[in-house]
C-alpha cells in the first residue's frame, strides 16, 4: 500500500521520465501538421460564411454617414470609392485568391479602414488585447488557484464559505455588468480612473514615466474587470479539484507520515492544478479573440472590438484575418497545452512508464 502510494505521488508531482528526442520531434510534427490542417479547414469555413453574411457594406457605410449628419453628397463621395475595395469574381476565384494570399502571409486590405493592410490593423489591435487580457487571465488564474486551495482546505469554516460564495457570485455575474459597474463607480461617481481609451494622448509615446503610468492607469479597470470575471471559474474549479485530491490516499499517507504542512499543500496544489493548465492554455489562446464586452465598455481598441467592427461593416478581409488569428491562437494554444500536459503528467505520455 505504501509503495503504491509513493509511486503515485511521485508520478503526479515530479515527472522525471523522458521521451527520446526523435519521439518528441515526431509528436511536435504531428501536432503542427494537424494544426495546419485545422487552420486550413477553419479558414475555408470562415471564408465561405463571411461571404454569405447578408448586407451591403457600402450601402451600410453610406447610411451610417447619413445617420451621423453628413449630407448625401458628402456621404456618396465618401463611400463611392469603397466599391473598389470589395472582392470581385466568383466565390471560387475569390477563395483561390484568398488562399494564395494566405500562403504569402497577405491578409488583404481593409474596407472599413480603406487602403490599410489587415495585418497592420490586427497588429495594432493585438497589442491592446494581449497585454491586458493576458494580465487579467494570469492574475485571475493566480488568485483563483490560491483561493481555491484555501476554499477547499477551509471548506467547513467561514473563510471557505466566503471564498466559495465569492467565486459563485462572480462566476454568475456577466462580464459586462462588472465592467459597467466598475466604470460607473470609478470613472463616473468617483472619477479616479479613466473611463475609456488605452492611454492619454497627451503623453508622448515612449519609455517615459508619464506614458507608462498612463498606460497602467488606463489598464487598471479592464484588467480588474477581466480578473473578476474569470476569477470565479478558477476558484470553483480549483476548489473542486482540491477536494477530490484531498480524498486521495496519498494525501492521507503524507499526513500520516508527518510531512510538513507546506509539502502536503504542494502535493495537493500540484495535483489539483493539472486540469486547469489545459484550460489556462486554451484561455490564453482565446485571448486573441479579445474580450469584446470589456473592450467595448472601456473603449479599448483590441482584437475583440476590431472583430465586432469588421462584422458590422462587413469588412470581409478584416473579418477573415481576425478569425484566422483567433484560430491560430487557439490551435497553437492547444498544441502547447498538449505538449505541456504530456510533460507535466506522465500518465498521458504515450509509451511512458507511469
Amino acid at each position: 500500500m505504501t509503495a503504491t502510494l509513493r509511486v503515485r505521488a511521485r508520478s503526479k508531482t515530479s515527472p522525471t521520465s523522458s521521451a527520446s528526442p526523435k519521439a518528441v520531434v515526431r509528436r511536435v510534427a504531428g501536432h503542427v501538421a494537424r494544426g495546419l490542417v485545422m487552420i486550413w479547414v477553419v479558414a475555408t469555413i470562415s471564408f465561405v460564411i463571411i461571404r454569405e453574411i447578408p448586407g451591403d457594406p457600402v450601402r451600410g457605410q453610406y447610411e451610417s454617414l447619413i445617420q451621423k449628419g453628413m449630407s448625401p453628397e458628402q456621404a456618396e463621395r465618401a463611400t463611392a470609392v469603397l466599391y473598389g475595395f470589395l472582392p470581385t469574381g466568383s466565390l471560387w476565384e475569390q477563395y483561390l485568391g484568398y488562399m494564395n494570399s494566405l500562403l504569402h502571409f497577405d491578409l488583404g486590405r481593409s474596407l472599413s479602414t480603406p487602403g490599410v493592410e489587415v495585418t497592420t490593423l490586427i497588429g495594432s489591435a493585438a497589442r491592446w488585447t494581449v497585454l491586458p487580457v493576458l494580465a487579467g487571465t494570469l492574475l485571475s488564474f493566480l488568485l483563483g488557484v490560491i483561493m481555491g486551495v484555501y476554499a477547499a482546505i477551509k471548506r467547513s469554516g467561514r473563510l471557505g464559505d466566503v471564498l466559495a460564495l465569492s467565486g459563485s457570485l462572480l462566476h454568475g455575474v456577466p462580464v459586462y455588468v462588472i465592467g459597467l459597474l466598475l466604470t460607473a463607480i470609478f470613472a463616473t461617481l468617483w472619477p479616479i480612473m479613466p473611463s475609456g481609451g488605452p492611454v492619454d494622448v497627451e503623453h508622448v509615446p515612449g519609455l517615459n514615466p508619464g506614458y507608462l503610468g498612463s498606460l497602467a492607469h488606463h489598464a487598471v479597470l479592464p484588467v480588474v474587470t477581466y480578473t473578476l470575471a474569470s476569477y470565479g471559474g478558477w476558484i470553483l474549479a480549483m476548489k473542486s479539484n482540491v477536494v477530490a485530491v484531498l480524498g486521495d490516499d496519498f494525501i492521507l499517507a503524507a499526513e500520516l507520515r508527518g510531512l510538513k504542512r507546506g509539502i502536503v499543500f504542494r502535493y495537493i496544489a500540484r495535483n489539483a492544478i493539472l486540469p486547469l493548465f489545459t484550460i489556462l492554455a486554451l484561455s490564453i489562446g482565446m485571448l486573441f479573440g479579445g474580450s469584446i464586452f470589456i473592450e467595448q465598455i472601456f473603449n479599448y481598441p483590441g482584437l475583440g472590438l476590431l472583430l465586432v467592427g469588421s462584422i458590422s461593416s462587413r469588412d470581409y478581409a478584416l473579418m477573415g484575418g481576425t478569425f484566422l488569428v483567433i484560430t491560430i491562437g487557439i490551435v497553437v494554444a492547444n498544441i502547447v497545452a498538449d505538449l505541456l500536459y504530456t510533460a507535466i503528467d506522465p500518465r498521458v505520455r504515450s509509451g511512458g512508464s507511469a
Binding site: 447578408p54 448586407g55 451591403d56 450601402r59 451600410g60 447610411e63 451610417s64 454617414l65 445617420q67 451621423k68 449628419g69 449630407s71 453628397e73 458628402q74 456618396e76 463621395r77 465618401a78 463611392a80 470609392v81 473598389g84 486590405r109 472599413s112 479602414t113 480603406p114 487602403g115 490599410v116 497592420t120 491592446w128 493566480l142 459597467l180 466604470t183 470613472a187 463616473t188 472619477p191 479616479i192 479613466p194 473611463s195 475609456g196 481609451g197 488605452p198 492611454v199 492619454d200 494622448v201 497627451e202 503623453h203 514615466p209 508619464g210 507608462l212 503610468g213 498612463s214 498606460l215 497602467a216 492607469h217 488606463h218 473592450e295 465598455i297 473603449n299 481598441p301 461593416s313 462587413r314
Partner: protein
C-alpha cells in the same frame, strides 16, 4: 506570496504614478489657452488610418486640421449659404455657370507655405478621382464642373458644364483643400489632359480616360502622408486609438480668433461613453447623442453643463413597401397615419432629440413652412382619429372580426415593423406604435435586424413590409425628396438619364408607382420632379417642392414620425461663448466655431 506582494506593490506604485501624472505633462506646456476636449460625431478615431481627408476614417477633423473652401450654414431652405473657410469670398453668376473664388490672403499651411489656387486645383483634381456631383466625369451629369482656371495665386474660376445645377456652388464650396506639395504627386502629369478627354471626348478614348481617373481612387484614398500639413487652426500632433491630439497651427490665417492651445478629440465605441464623459464634465462639447431621460438629467446636473438646441434637417419616418399588400393601398397607409399618436411616440423614443412631426410632407416642419408658406397648414395633419382610420380601413376592404382587423380576403392582418436593433430610439418608437395599433385592433409586432448593414441589405432586397427610414435630409430640396422618390423607390440616374426600375429590383424596396394622380396637380412622376429639383430655377423649384409635399401628404409613402432637433452638449466650466440656440453654425464642428470667433476661455 512574497513575490505576489511585490507584484501588488509594483502595480500600486504604477497606478499611483499614473494618477499623479495623467494630464499634467503636456497640459503644463500650453500657453494658457488650455486643451479643448470634444468628440467627432462623424467618425470614430482610427489610429491606423492615414492623415488624409479622402480616406473616410482618416485622421483629418473638419474645422480643426481639415479645411473646406467654406462651411455650410444651417439654413432650412437655401443650401448655398456658407461661412468663409479657406475661401475668403466668392462670386457667382445667377445661374451658377461660373464661380470665382478668392482665397484667404493670409492663408498658410502649417509648414509655412502659402495656400494657393494651385492647392485648390489639385484638390479638385483629386476629388475627380473620388466622384461626386460637382466632380462627375460624365459631362451629362447635372452640376459637374467643366473647367478650372487659375486666375492668380489667390483666385480660381470654375465653370459649370452645360447641364446646370442649383447645387453647383454648394458642392464647390464644400471642397476639402489639401496641400499640392504633399498630395500633388498623386496626380499623373497628364491628368488634366486625361480629364479633358474623359469629359469632352467620346467613344473608347473617353472611356479609357474615365477608367484611368477612377483607377486613381484607391491610390488617393490609401495615400499616407508622413505628417499632417494643415491650413486649419490646428494640426495633428499625434493620434492613438483612444484620442487624437491637435496643436495650434501658428500659420493659421486668423490665429488671433483661436483660443485653445490644443484640441483633444476623444474616441468612442458607444453612446454610453459619451454620456459618462458628459456626466463627469470632461467634454467641452459633444455632438448630439441619443440620451435616455434619466441620463439626460445627470448630464444636466454636471457642473457647467449646457444643452444647445437648433434645427436639424432630418426626420424619422415609418416607410411602406408598396409592392406588398395591403400597403399598396393608400387607404391602409392613411388609416395607420390616423392611428399613430406621434407625440406619444416621440415622447417615448426621442424626447430630447426630436419634436413630433406636425404632418407628413417629407420635409422637416421648419423647412416645410419656409418652402410652402401657407400651404403647409393646408396639408392633412393626420391627427389621431380612430373614426377616420376605421373609414379608411373599410374603404380598403378590411374587415373587423372579434375586435381585430383582417385583410379583405378574411386572412388575419399582421403588421411587422422592422428596425435595426442597435437604434434604441427607433426600437422604442416601433414598440410604441405596435402597442398603439394593438389598442385599435391591429395585430402589430416589432422585428429587429441584428445590425444596420443587415437591415439595409434586407430593406433593399424588399424583405420588409414596414420599416423605419430617415427622410428630409435638407437643406437641398433634391436631397430631401430623393429619399422618397429616388433609388429606394425605383428612380435611377444613369449618364444623366432618369429611369424607373420595377419594385424589388436594383434597390427599389418602396415599390411606389411611377406616376401618380395628384388631384389639382394632375398626373405627376415624382421621381422626375425630384430630379428636376437639382437643376431648375428658384421659382420652379418652389413649385415642385409644393407639388411633392402635397403628393407625399396625400399618398403617404411614409408616415413622418418626428423631426430631429440638433441637440449639442457643451460645458462652460472651461470655455464659454458657444453658439446660442438655433444658431446657423450649430451643425458645424467646434473648430469652425473657433474660426468664427466663438469659444473663449472662461475667466476665473
Amino acid at each position: 506570496m512574497k513575490r505576489l506582494a511585490a507584484i501588488v506593490a509594483l502595480a500600486t506604485f504604477a497606478t499611483a504614478t499614473a494618477c499623479g501624472t495623467t494630464g499634467t505633462t503636456e497640459a503644463a506646456q500650453t500657453a494658457g489657452g488650455g486643451v479643448y476636449t470634444t468628440i467627432d460625431g462623424s467618425k470614430q478615431i482610427n489610429a491606423s488610418a492615414p492623415i488624409n481627408p479622402f480616406n473616410p476614417v482618416g485622421s483629418v477633423f473638419a474645422g480643426y486640421n481639415g479645411m473646406a473652401l467654406a462651411w455650410p450654414k444651417n439654413d432650412p431652405v437655401d443650401p448655398n449659404r456658407f461661412y468663409p473657410g479657406l475661401a475668403d469670398s466668392w462670386t457667382t453668376t445667377p445661374d451658377q455657370s461660373e464661380v470665382v473664388i478668392h482665397l484667404q490672403p493670409d492663408a498658410r499651411w502649417s509648414d509655412g507655405k502659402p495656400v494657393t489656387s494651385e492647392d485648390v486645383r489639385v484638390s479638385i483634381g483629386l476629388a475627380y478621382t473620388q466622384g461626386g456631383t460637382a466632380y462627375a466625369l460624365d459631362p451629362r451629369a447635372a452640376g459637374a464642373a467643366a473647367d478650372i482656371q487659375v486666375v492668380d495665386a489667390k483666385t480660381i474660376k470654375i465653370t459649370q458644364g452645360a447641364n446646370r445645377s442649383g447645387m453647383f456652388l454648394s458642392n464647390l464650396l464644400s471642397t476639402v483643400v489639401v496641400p499640392a506639395h504633399v498630395f500633388g504627386g498623386l496626380l499623373p502629369s497628364d491628368f488634366w489632359q486625361t480629364l479633358k478627354v474623359a469629359q469632352d471626348g467620346a467613344g473608347p478614348a473617353a472611356e479609357t480616360a474615365k477608367a484611368e481617373i477612377t483607377g486613381l481612387a484607391e491610390k488617393v484614398i490609401a495615400f499616407t502622408p508622413e505628417r499632417d500639413v494643415s491650413a486649419g487652426p490646428f494640426v495633428l500632433e499625434r493620434v492613438n486609438p483612444g484620442a487624437a491630439l491637435l496643436k495650434r497651427n501658428p500659420y493659421f490665417y486668423d490665429s488671433a480668433a483661436i483660443v485653445p492651445d490644443k484640441v483633444k478629440v476623444l474616441n468612442y465605441t458607444g453612446n454610453e461613453q459619451i454620456w459618462n464623459y458628459l456626466i463627469a464634465g470632461k467634454l467641452d462639447n459633444a455632438p448630439f447623442t441619443s440620451v435616455p431621460s434619466a441620463v439626460m438629467e445627470r448630464i444636466r446636473a454636471a457642473g457647467g453643463s449646457k444643452v444647445i438646441k437648433g434645427y436639424s434637417p432630418v426626420a424619422t419616418s415609418m416607410a411602406f413597401n408598396q409592392s406588398h399588400k395591403p400597403y399598396d393601398n393608400v387607404h391602409v397607409r392613411r388609416a395607420l397615419a390616423y392611428l399613430i399618436d406621434r407625440a406619444q411616440v416621440t415622447k417615448i423614443a426621442s424626447p430630447e432629440g426630436g419634436t413630433p412631426a406636425v404632418t407628413t410632407s417629407g420635409i422637416h416642419a421648419k423647412a416645410a413652412r419656409a418652402w410652402l408658406d401657407g400651404g403647409f397648414d393646408r396639408l392633412d395633419p393626420y391627427r389621431v382619429d380612430a373614426a377616420k382610420a376605421e373609414a379608411e380601413l373599410r374603404a380598403a376592404g378590411m374587415t373587423k372580426r372579434n375586435g381585430r382587423w383582417a385583410l379583405p380576403g378574411g386572412k388575419p392582418w399582421k403588421v411587422r415593423i422592422h428596425v435595426p436593433a442597435s437604434f434604441s430610439d427607433w426600437v422604442a418608437a416601433a414598440k410604441s406604435i405596435s402597442s398603439q395599433l394593438g389598442d385599435h385592433g391591429i395585430d402589430a409586432t416589432v422585428v429587429t435586424a441584428a445590425d444596420y448593414t443587415l437591415y439595409l441589405g434586407e430593406l433593399a432586397d424588399g424583405k420588409y413590409d414596414v420599416a423605419f427610414w430617415l427622410i428630409g435630409l435638407g437643406p437641398s430640396p433634391y436631397n430631401i425628396f430623393q429619399r422618397l422618390y429616388g433609388q429606394a423607390n425605383g428612380w435611377q440616374m444613369f449618364g444623366g438619364r432618369l429611369s424607373h426600375v420595377p419594385p424589388g429590383t436594383q434597390g427599389n424596396w418602396m415599390g411606389g408607382p411611377e406616376t401618380v394622380e395628384a388631384g389639382a396637380d394632375g398626373t405627376v412622376n415624382p421621381g422626375e420632379l425630384t430630379s428636376r429639383l437639382s437643376y431648375t430655377g428658384p421659382e420652379e423649384r418652389k413649385r415642385i417642392v409644393g407639388v411633392l409635399a402635397r403628393l407625399t401628404n396625400e399618398q403617404l409613402p411614409v408616415i413622418q414620425l418626428w423631426d430631429y432637433v440638433n441637440t449639442q452638449f457643451a460645458n462652460t466650466s472651461r470655455y464659454t461663448a458657444f453658439p446660442p440656440d438655433d444658431h446657423d453654425a450649430l451643425r458645424l464642428s467646434s473648430g469652425v466655431w473657433m474660426q468664427l470667433g466663438m469659444i473663449k476661455k472662461r475667466q476665473v
